[in-house]
């Protein structure tokens, strides 16, 4: 910076003030002089004016006194007046000279006193002196002439006139002079204002210059300082000082501050960037990479290498990252403490830098050739007091202070970072290990659970098997006892049976005889009556006779049916197996049923399948009985449409093959009223039709299908029904061909099957042994109608039903009953409600495993939740749905398998 001779701001301001004061002083002096001279002049004029008047008046009066003294002397002749006159003649000239001097001193112009002098002198010489002389000589003439004549007074008045003229002239002169002075005074006032204005302008100019000079520079400085905060510290403009004073110092200082700030910001920004860059780093390799990349670019290094202390051998440092602008790998892989320059740095624990201008240690390969690198810095990284890593950088240029500071500062933070990364890596490694172990454990536990579940299932199965075995053993024992007892009873009852069978047969034989005999009479007689041989009967009578005959025949059929049924049930049906020609079936059907079909306008079709066996062995009479029964039913219940008979070979299953190779399937399909699903089982029961209305409408005994079923069973087959209400029914009979009539191996248990619309396999009519068999269920409800309904439903399934109408009864039963498999628990009951009852069952009776199914009204969610709280196993809502009830009971009666949460 140019340190010329400098003029300070203080100096500038002082000079300004001094100039100002000088101006003021000069102008004050000048003005004062002016004013003083004016004053003097004015004083002179005033003095002159008064002196002149006094003197001229004195002179004038003296002249007058001369005359009067002369007069008085003349009159009185007193010497005193003569002396006075002489005295005055002697002095007037001196007075005149005095006045003349005054006037001459004052004015430069023409002396106006000369005429006065002349006139006085004239009077003195021409009048006074002769007169005096005359008086002394007493020359009266002369005295008269001179005295009484006009001569003296003319001369005196001339003197007086001259005086007046003189004074007038002088007064005019003085007036003139005064007005001149006034003009000068005015000029002086203007001059004063002019000087003041000039000083004001000079002041303004000086101070404007100074302030502009100072304030302008300070503004620039302020702006620059404010900019420091705004700009990001790059390319900040410098302030140029225009003056050479303290402001220049300020500007220089500010510029230095700017430079320092920029350096510091560069330093901090880079430091922050580098530190931020390796904050998210998880591995040392990555750290080295990041560190070298960021440091080399910022310090314009061309080579860099980063070494970390070996984990096992603390004397060895291994390279984990290297940087070379050429992209090559540089630096040795590892070094020992004390080995070489870098090893020395570690050993001495200090920063080493080298400058080798002459003999470059390394050449940088570029496209242009090899460029020597001559500057390097080796910085050890500390953690605590130990060197844990070393950083080496090399550059083509010398590292400046900032670069060194940055490198050192980065390295200060680096130690902690490296340590924490090593720690973190260790944590991650341990975490991964433990995670792997945890996962392994989890898998094993899951598998163990699987295996334990498998084991549990096996145990459960074993327990079940065991239980069954025990039960069987018990059963066997009981049965042995019962058997012994039964044997005795059997003997007795066999005897009784034989007797009663005999009685029954006898009774039936008797009955048939006894019933038929009178019936025959009725039939024959009514028929005869109806023939009306003598024509004696009226039409009504004939009608009655016909009704009697028809009723009798119905009765006879009924009796025959009853006999048949009782014979079958008593095992007394005689069967005669013989050959039957299958192709005769259509003929048989048409012969018997075409008339009725025609009468009801129904189509009757009989279809015998092709490839049919011709000969079929069965009891032909019974076969026809079955067929007739089914066909008459079909025709009876069909109002319109058709009745189809289909004869074909049945599919033979292995079980069926044990009985016969050939099975016949005869199905009778009608388009009649059909049978509702819930009634399908009933139609095979004795004396049952779909409902009472049907009986009234179609008549019939309702025995036909029961007989069919029994007869089919006797013939070794079964009958199935498929029907949809309103659309029609299909009865299918399956019969085996039995040439030798051996029916001992028949599947006697095969019974009529019911299926709904779906074509499923025949399911045995008697329900299989279900989960409900022999189960004991306790119903707790205060409403006997509910109990009744539940009892009905459950007993149908084979359940033993116990009942209680309140909680107390329930508890009593549970304590005394030998066996209760499940409880159906109503909530609202007198005495003790369902909640309390359940609680007592669980806590007082300790029946924690007993299934209790709570019955609550559907809308009451809180009831349901409370039921679960007090220990209900499950719940169903009222009104009850039987399917749901059975489902729930099935679940809770099934021996359970516990899950891990169970």
């Amino acid at each position: 910076m140019n340190k010329k001779r400098k003029i300070g701001i203080g100096f500038k301001i002082t000079s300004g003030y001094i100039i100002l004061i000088l101006c003021l002083v000069v102008s004050a002096v000048v003005l004062n002089n002016q004013i003083t001279s004016l004053q003097q002049e004015r004083n002179a004029i005033i003095k002159y004016d008064s002196s002149m008047r006094v003197m001229s008046n004195n002179l004038e009066r003296k002249i007058v006194n001369l005359e009067s003294s002369l007069h008085r002397y003349l009159i009185t002749n007193n010497e005193k007046y003569l002396d006075k006159y002489n005295d005055e003649v002697a002095t007037w000239e001196a007075n005149y000279e005095e006045l003349n001097n005054l006037v001459n001193n004052y004015s430069t112009g023409e002396n106006q006193l000369a005429p006065i002098y002349n006139s006085i002198n004239n009077w003195v010489n021409n009048i006074g002196q002769p007169l005096l002389n005359a008086i002394i000589r007493e020359d009266s003439d002369q005295i008269n002439t001179l005295f009484n004549g006009e001569l003296s007074s003319v001369a005196i008045s001339e003197v007086q006139q001259n005086f007046t003229a003189f004074r007038t002239t002088e007064t005019e002169n003085i007036q003139q002079h005064v007005s001149l002075l006034n003009d000068r005074n005015a000029d002086l006032t203007y001059g004063l204002f002019a000087i003041l204005s000039l000083i004001a302008i000079i002041t303004i100019v000086i101070f404007t210059m100074i302030s502009r000079n100072i304030a302008g520079s300070i503004d620039e400085v302020t702006e620059a300082i404010e900019d420091m905060n705004k700009t990001d510290g790059k390319n900040r403009k410098r302030i140029v000082a225009k003056t050479n004073d303290e402001v220049r110092d300020l500007v220089d200082a500010t510029n230095m501050l700017l430079a320092t700030m920029e350096n510091r910001q560069w330093f901090q920004r880079n430091l922050a960037e580098i530190v931020t860059a390796y904050q998210g780093v998880h591995s040392l390799d990555e750290l080295g990479e990041v560190l070298l990349n960021s440091l080399t670019t910022r310090t314009q290094s061309v080579y860099g290498a980063f070494y970390i202390q070996d984990v096992r051998n603390t004397n060895q440092f291994n390279k984990i990252a290297a940087f070379a602008e050429t992209g090559d790998d540089v630096g040795r892989q590892s070094f020992m403490v004390g080995q070489g320059f870098v090893g020395q740095s570690v050993k001495e624990k200090r920063v080493l830098s080298y400058e080798n201008k002459e003999n470059s240690f390394h050449y940088l390969e570029t496209a242009l050739g090899n460029i020597p690198i001559s500057n390097g810095i080796i910085v050890p990284v500390f953690f605590g007091n130990d060197v844990i890593a070393v950083l080496e950088l090399a550059s083509l240029k010398k590292y400046n202070e900032h670069h060194r500071a940055l490198i050192k500062e980065v390295v200060v933070h680096l130690g902690v970072t490296i340590n924490s990364i090593i720690g973190r890596m260790e944590v991650i490694r341990l975490l991964n290990e433990s995670q792997a172990m945890t996962e392994e454990l989890q898998v094993q536990s899951e598998e163990l659970q699987t295996q334990s579940e498998e084991l549990k299932m096996q145990t459960e199965e074993l327990t079940t098997i065991n239980e069954r075995l025990e039960e069987r053993t018990r059963d066997a024992e009981t049965k042995t006892h019962a058997l012994e007892k039964a044997q005795i009873e059997l003997k007795e009852s066999a005897e009784q049976l034989r007797q009663s069978s005999n009685y029954k047969s006898e009774f039936l034989a008797n009955m048939s005889h006894e019933l038929r005999t009178p019936l025959n009479s009725i039939l024959i007689l009514s028929e005869m009556l109806a023939e009306n041989h003598d024509n004696r009967l009226s039409d009504d009578d004939l009608e009655y006779a016909k009704v009697i005959h028809d009723s009798g025949e119905d009765l006879l059929n009924l009796i025959n049916d009853i006999l048949d049924l009782s014979k079958v049930e008593a095992g007394k049906m005689d069967l005669w197996f013989r050959e039957m020609d299958v192709y005769e079936i259509p003929q048989h059907v048409h012969n018997l049923f075409s008339p009725i079909a025609k009468q009801k306008d129904l189509d009757l079709n009989v279809d015998v399948a092709q490839n049919m066996v011709e000969i079929f062995h069965t009891d032909v009479k019974r076969f026809h009985q079955i067929l007739n029964n089914l066909l008459s039913n079909a025709l009876k219940f069909t109002e319109q449409g058709s009745v189809n008979v289909k004869v074909e070979l049945a599919q033979v299953t292995p079980t069926m093959k044990q009985i016969s190779d050939t099975w016949l399937s005869i199905s009778v399909t009608d388009t009649g009223i059909g049978i509702p699903k819930d009634k399908q089982q009933l139609v095979f029961e004795s004396f049952q039709q779909a409902d009472g209305a049907t009986v009234r409408k179609y008549g019939g005994t309702g025995l036909g299908l029961s007989i069919c079923r029994e007869v089919v069973k006797l013939l070794g087959g079964w009958i199935t029904l498929r029907s949809t209400e309103g659309e029609g029914s299909t009865f299918t009979v399956c019969l085996p061909s039995l040439p030798d009539g051996n029916i001992s191996t028949l599947i006697s248990e095969q019974e009529v099957a019911f299926t709904d619309a779906s074509p499923a396999l025949p399911v045995p009519v008697t329900p299989p042994k279900t989960i409900f068999d022999e189960k004991h269920i306790l119903i707790v409800d205060d409403d006997y109608r509910n109990i009744y309904a539940l009892r009905q439903a459950l007993e149908q399934k084979g359940v033993h039903v116990l009942e209680a109408t309140n909680g107390l009864e329930c508890l009593n039963i549970l304590q005394t009953a030998t066996r209760v498999d499940a409880v159906l628990m109503d909530i609202m009951m007198p005495e003790m409600d369902g909640y309390e009852t359940m609680q007592r069952i669980r806590y007082d009776l300790q029946l924690t495993e007993l299934p209790i199914i709570a019955l609550t009204a559907k809308a009451m969610k809180q009831d349901r939740d409370r039921a679960f709280e007090v220990g209900a196993s499950d719940y169903i809502s009222k009104p009850l749905n039987l399917d749901q009830l059975f489902s729930v009971l099935t679940v809770w009666l099934t021996s359970r398998e516990r899950l891990k949460n169970g």
Partner: protein
């Protein structure tokens, strides 16, 4: 041990070639235990012998495949998980017009039906489409039937009650002698399909993905792949439900989810 590893890897290669099922990245210890289990049962002395056997014996191959796909599942397994679903997830699903749920690794379908019941009770079943997938076709068939052994139903009922079920559990099934069959309307909106988490890709975007107790059998790498698959298959703000022994923690995708329930392993994909 190294030889054993070789044997196992050869067996798994053979299995992959024969069946297309890729167990090569499964948890080796678990796989080894399953193999040894099968060897004990069938009295096969070495793993190599087993490899040979499965090449020529398809029945054994299928048995081994069944052994590998561990199908432990229950209805409302971990009731607290379903309670958390009901309390935390359902209210958010209520806002959706159409809900898509994926049960990955559904096994025999117990959880799918549980979910269907839950949705039915929350009034969401009609607007939900559920995809139930498993790599094992035979368990899928079972799942499709929706019939579960009677012996387990008591425990399921308890689970159902604990999970916060609002109805009587029995109204959802009908029993026969050995099974409780769930009502067909529950499965009207369920699509059962074969899908292999190891080899197959994402096939839709879902609002909820449930994959419980499947990932624990996978190696960490495979788990990451599957997590990526789930992440890609989830809609924004979609939910991921894992098994009680599985967690998103420590996986690279963890920051992309927020935890809805740490204890029940329910996570939500961040926007």
């Amino acid at each position: 041990m190294d030889k054993k590893k070789l044997e196992v890897s050869l067996l798994l290669e053979a299995l992959y070639s024969l069946s297309g099922f890729d167990f090569r990245q499964y948890n080796q210890q678990s796989i080894l235990r399953r193999i040894e289990h099968r060897m004990r049962i069938n009295n096969i002395p070495t793993i190599s012998r087993l490899t040979e056997s499965i090449i020529y014996n398809e029945e054994l191959l299928n048995m081994l495949l069944n052994d590998f796909s561990i199908n432990v599942t229950e209805m409302f397994r971990d009731p607290s998980f379903f309670r958390a679903l009901r309390e935390n997830i359902i209210p958010q699903l209520q806002k959706l017009e159409k809900i898509r749920i994926w049960h990955a690794g559904c096994a025999t379908g117990e959880e799918v039906y549980s979910m269907a019941i839950l949705l039915q009770e929350e009034g969401l079943l009609d607007r939900t489409v559920m995809y139930a997938t498993d790599m094992n076709e035979s368990v899928l068939k079972k799942a499709q039937q929706g019939a579960f052994p009677l012996q387990k139903m008591q425990a399921y009922t308890k689970n159902y009650i604990l999970s916060g079920g609002t109805e009587g559990f029995s109204q959802y099934y009908k029993t026969d002698n050995s099974y409780a069959s769930f009502h067909p309307y529950l499965r009207e909106n369920i699509m059962f399909a074969q899908h292999n988490l190891v080899t197959d890709q994402s096939f839709q975007e879902f609002d909820v993905i449930i994959c419980r107790n499947v990932l624990i059998y996978f190696s960490p790498e495979l788990q990451h792949d599957v997590h990526r698959l789930f992440y890609d298959s989830l809609a924004h703000n979609g939910f991921l439900g894992l098994g009680d022994k599985e967690t998103l923690q420590f996986t690279p995708l963890a920051p992309k989810y927020r935890t809805i329930s740490a204890s029940e392993r329910i996570y939500q994909k961040k926007l």
